[in-house]
């Protein structure tokens, strides 16, 4: 009996702890970042920013889309100062909530890597590539341009991730470079050769490595994680499409400052730091991404940006995510 009361008492105690924990609110002087990029990738460089500037940073990690939805729900009460997103789609979804970024920061970056309205700035670049299984194929077997994969000989051998933001960025690039009709034909053409649909890039690279599929359309840097963990023998490599085109477009991960931020000064210092040589060198050397500023040497395993025949697209043209989604639905690629 006594034990029972003790048990009940300890339950109530726990509840009391929960309630008392409610009282502690976050302090406002630290910089709050909502990061759709994972801690594995950006955690170290954010720590360096804190050390270099003495500004305390709190980071909430999550997926780009879920954090974007969170900020939208939070509205004016959002505690976030900065939204650091995986892809331009996520930044575009919040563009109306961003404060303008000073030209001194924007000016450091090529126009194709930043918001045309000065709302957000690209921080690292990622190339769209074709990843292929080296046991079944060599580069010579691969078409010059992404259109070539609509050939019936690729039946059942392709993996793609149409729900992924980067993939959709590529389709938007197609619409800009090829026009609606040809893009539609490509989507239908690929659909006709029965591609396997993956939820995102990582499982595509894993499936190519396992030989489940022969080729896939991911971003370039996922491969390097597999090479790191499984060694050089991992039987997959990146192929940068010889003729360039939308299949070799460079997309950015970037960040914007929220209009509601009470700490815009520190937020701007954060963006400046991320574009500094130290940070850009970190992205180019540690996360296998492409720098968005001049004068940074990329990782030796990476094909330098200058050697990729990537199309020049104005960021302003890349903003129409809605149109891309409409096309993906019309063609039945997405439900």
């Amino acid at each position: 009996m006594r034990k029972r009361i003790l048990g009940l008492g300890s339950l109530l105690m726990m509840l009391a702890i929960v309630v008392s924990a409610c009282g502690q609110a976050a302090t406002s002087q630290t910089l709050t970042v909502y990061s759709g990029r994972s801690e594995e990738l950006v955690g170290p460089i954010i720590d360096q920013f804190s050390k270099a500037t003495g500004i305390k940073v709190q980071v909430r990690y999550g997926s780009t889309s879920e954090l974007a939805a969170t900020i939208l729900e939070e509205g004016r009460n959002s505690p976030a100062d900065i939204f650091f997103a995986q892809d331009p789609g996520g930044l575009g979804a919040l563009a109306h909530l961003f404060a303008p970024i000073p030209d001194t920061i924007l000016g450091q970056v090529e126009p194709r890597f930043r918001s045309p309205y000065g709302k957000w700035v690209g921080i690292s670049g990622r190339a769209r590539v074709v990843v292929y299984n080296t046991q079944d194929l060599s580069e010579a077997d691969l078409p010059d341009d992404i259109w070539g994969f609509t050939d019936p000989k690729w039946k059942g051998r392709i993996g793609w991730a149409p729900s992924n933001g980067s993939f959709q960025g590529m389709v938007t690039a197609m619409r800009v470079l090829w026009g609606e009709e040809k893009t539609k034909q490509w989507l239908l053409g690929i659909k006709a050769v029965n591609p396997k649909m993956y939820p995102k890039n990582t499982p595509i690279v894993a499936a190519v490595g396992a030989g489940e599929i022969d080729v896939g359309f991911p971003n370039h840097y996922y491969l390097f994680r597999f090479l790191e963990e499984q060694g050089e023998s991992f039987p997959a490599r990146n192929y940068y499409l010889r003729d360039g085109g939308p299949g070799a477009v460079i997309l950015v991960a970037g960040a914007g400052i929220l209009e509601t931020s009470q700490n815009k000064e520190d937020a701007e210092r954060f963006l400046e730091f991320m574009l500094s040589l130290v940070a850009q060198q970190y992205f180019a050397g540690q996360t296998f991404e492409y720098p968005v500023v001049e004068g940074v040497t990329t990782h030796p395993l990476l094909k330098p940006l200058s050697e990729i025949s990537s199309p020049e697209i104005d960021m302003a043209d890349m903003a129409d995510l809605k149109g891309t989604l409409k096309l993906l639905r019309e063609t039945g690629v997405l439900p």
Binding site: A69, E73, K196
Partner: protein, 514 residues
């Protein structure tokens, strides 16, 4: 009434969905009324039925072996077979792809001796079903386990003494007595299947929840996602009504007065080995397979020079929030269950059913609902531990209500009335009579909530105090970038850390019985 308060809190997500759906444009409704939607709905229903039926079919014999026979190491089997619940469904998905994929580990093993080039496709229905089954059958197992412990053996004895064989007795006496538990456990499995995203997306089986996530992921369209979620609520309501029909209206409590006795134990005899084989098979697929794949990732990564980081603070955080969530959820579930059983009527039944809505919705929907209410109307507690625990309670309440309700049905109202007539106050009766008698249900409920909180992701990511890391968030962070070796450590730790309280719980159970 505390139950009313709980019902109000639990319906917050529903209010949020209605509010957001109102903002949905015509395009959304076009999206909804297309043949593709019906198609996806059909696929979802097929998956829900299949996973539920298989879970019951496997859990029933398993629970019987563990509770009612002289199977060796029964408690060990119980702990081992309930642990798969702690594995996040996307990890189960990754494990199945790695192990059983067309060119997975199994194929590699079979390649040399048998020349198997490629295994049959695991993607689609079979893989999705297997993955969800593996992470959800413990719902039925634990609910049944709690219920079997409270069965009145005198009914079975009467049946046997009237000349019915053991099989006949099981079919005609025991099984009907277990109906509420089967229904409650099956309900949890069905609703879980409805809301799973991780496994179905990795194994490429398009369900309704997958379509909802797609709205968030691709178009950042909260309105369309909310409208689709409401359809999910409708499906959940249909499932809930079905469950009420299957659970029946009979009495389930002890028929006679007297001291509770443990039921007779069936001697397995020569059936012992097949029985052990059956348990071993389940543990092999549901626990050994994931652990092997995780260990394989770990070894592969470490041998390629990956650093090995064991983050004990995350493990501690996981255990801490899960313990709090389990305690808070049980406390919230008690009034709901007591009301539903002791004061059964339309309103109390409605209250109990409403508590299931939070469980049937994808985690991201619950999380966003609380973001909306928290950030705008409860700013001081937004993104604090308190709100996070509240989110867990909303999501996991039915996991405690189900088992407690099934246990409470086995307690005769007369016992409580006797205590009242002897001068105890209602609260005293609750503390000294009712609670001890429904203990199996409380423990099962707490275990279910604990295990599912350990792996919970969307609400933890969005609503936790900033910088708060758990094992589940570490696993997700690593796998989302393809760092499988780095994900393996917290994933193995997740299973290990969860096994300790589960083992303690099962040991306590024995003391309670003697």
């Amino acid at each position: 009434m505390p139950a009313v308060l709980i019902a109000v809190v639990v319906s917050l997500p529903l209010a949020y969905l209605l509010l957001r759906s109102l903002g949905a444009g015509g395009e959304t409704w076009d999206l909804l009324f297309r043949s593709r939607t019906l198609d996806i709905l059909g696929r979802t229903v097929v998956l829900v039925i299949a996973v539920t039926v298989v879970s019951v079919a496997i859990s029933l014999p398993l629970a019987w072996l563990i509770n009612r026979t002289d199977l060796p190491f029964r408690r060990v089997w119980l702990v081992l077979t309930m642990l798969p619940l702690v594995i996040p469904s996307y990890v189960a998905g990754l494990v199945i792809v790695t192990a059983l994929g067309p060119r997975g580990m199994l194929q590699q093993v079979l390649a040399a001796p048998f020349g198997v080039e490629r295994l049959p496709e695991i993607y689609g229905f079979p893989g999705a079903m297997l993955a969800i089954f593996l992470v959800s059958y413990p719902y039925v197992l634990l609910t049944l386990h709690a219920s079997m412990r409270g069965l009145d053996p005198s009914l079975e004895e009467a049946s046997r003494s009237l000349g019915h064989g053991p099989w006949d007795t099981f079919r005609r006496i025991t099984l009907p007595q277990l109906r509420p538990a089967i229904a409650a456990g099956g309900l949890l499995v069905a609703l879980y299947t409805l809301k799973d995203f991780g496994a179905v997306s990795l194994l490429r089986y398009e369900t309704f929840t997958w379509a909802i996530y797609l709205q968030y992921q691709t178009s950042f369209d909260r309105m369309a996602a909310a409208a689709l979620s409401l359809v999910l609520v409708v499906v959940a309501v249909i499932i809930l009504v079905t469950e009420v029909r299957t659970r029946g209206r009979s009495q389930y409590h002890r028929s006679t007065v007297g001291v509770a006795r443990p039921p007779a134990c069936t001697r397995l005899g020569r059936w012992r080995w097949p029985a052990l084989g059956f348990c071993a098979m389940i543990v092999l697929v549901a626990l050994i397979m994931p652990i092997s794949v995780l260990s394989y990732w770990l070894v592969r990564g470490v041998s390629a020079g990956e650093p090995l980081n064991v983050v004990w603070s995350s493990a501690l955080n996981s255990g801490y929030v899960s313990g709090l969530a389990a305690a808070a959820t049980v406390v919230a579930a008690l009034p709901v269950a007591i009301l539903a059983v002791r004061y059964s009527g339309r309103i109390s039944a409605l209250l109990e059913r409403v508590s299931y809505v939070g469980f049937a919705l994808p985690g991201i929907v619950i999380a966003l609902a609380l973001v909306f209410f928290g950030a705008n109307y409860a700013t001081p507690i937004y993104q604090t531990m308190g709100l996070l625990i509240l989110a867990y309670v909303i999501m996991f309440l039915p996991q405690a209500v189900g088992p407690i309700r099934s246990s409470l049905l086995q307690v005769s109202r007369r016992v409580e009335e006797a205590a009242r007539s002897l001068g105890r106050s209602p609260l005293q009766v609750l503390a000294t009579v009712t609670l001890p008698l429904v203990r199996p249900g409380i423990l099962a409920g707490a275990a279910l909530v604990f295990l599912t909180t350990m792996k919970e992701l969307p609400a933890t990511l969005i609503l936790s105090p900033i910088g708060f890391k758990t094992l589940a968030t570490s696993i997700w962070s690593a796998t989302s970038e393809g760092f499988f070796a780095r994900a393996a450590v917290p994933a193995l730790l997740l299973i290990l850390v969860s096994s300790v309280p589960m083992a303690l719980l099962v040991m306590r159970e024995r003391r309670g019985q003697s």
